[in-house]
Symmetry: C2
Subunit: 160 residues, 2 copies
């Protein structure tokens, strides 16, 4: 797999398509995913967002998966994994693990020491939480009723 880390114009649409296709994210989350791309297209490094894209060979408008991560403002060496998404057909192929490993490798090169990722405590997110645990992340915190009554925020962290 060859990764791409520079954002290109087609990524706003490609990310939208990918995120929809997973059937996993809310409309509001879809909008945020696109905004992170657009902000990086207009601001460059200033946006604070970094990306790892898994392209479809020969099809520049499509993505197999991607991550969005970056340094957490006002921290010395903590990074946040803002987003990870993998196309349904590529799930269970190891692409998610490879994407996250590459993301961690690049974060380490930027002196990251700790990677944080937020997720939901709802049943729907059990596979997501299991994925993070397999990748060496530990549940560090659970904020009861954070997203909504009955929907906790779970914060995972890994020392890189």
């Amino acid at each position: 797999m060859r990764w791409r880390v520079t954002v290109q114009e087609s990524d706003a649409n490609a990310v939208h398509a990918l995120v929809c296709e997973t059937g996993f994210f809310s409309k509001s989350e879809e909008r945020i995913a696109i905004e992170l791309v657009e902000e990086t297209l207009s601001l460059g490094k200033e946006s604070g967002y970094e990306f790892v894209f898994a392209d479809v060979p020969g099809n520049p408008g499509r993505l197999l998966g991607y991550t969005c991560y970056g340094p957490i403002p006002d921290t010395e060496s903590s990074f946040d994994l803002y987003w990870i998404a993998v196309a349904p057909a590529e799930q269970r192929t190891g692409l998610g693990s490879s994407l996250l490993h590459e993301t961690e490798r690049l974060a380490l090169l930027q002196n990251a020491k700790r990677m944080f990722v937020d997720t939901s405590g709802r049943e729907q997110y059990t596979p997501t939480r299991n994925f993070y645990e397999r990748m060496g992340y530990r549940e560090e915190a659970r904020l009861v009723d954070f997203y909504a009554p009955g929907d906790d925020k779970v914060i995972y962290a890994k020392t890189l």
Copy 2:
């Protein structure tokens, strides 16, 4: 005490002066405090930030204290207390408690159910953490080495 909740032009400077005066915040935190005011001056309600100001009677360019809070995006009814600051001369007078009570009252009117506030686990913040505990906040989470090695993020929450 009469509170003011509408942001005015002089608040950017007044917030800067107040935040400096406390001697408690870093340069980067000072910049963020001002940005929250400026963003609200330019965007209004769209900014997502709400304020409670304690004015100095007869001196519109000065503040005794203030809070900045607002609904957390993509949550149903969780609010964040982004900022609370009280001028040194007003500390231990009950102004901080009154400001936070008023903030909670206004958040409740906006259907807030849970108020969250982040702080640091460092020794310097012991009075801050004690203040939140007196106000009915509970430590819900501690993210080890979040701000820097040896500097944890502590998340307090209160059900309103």
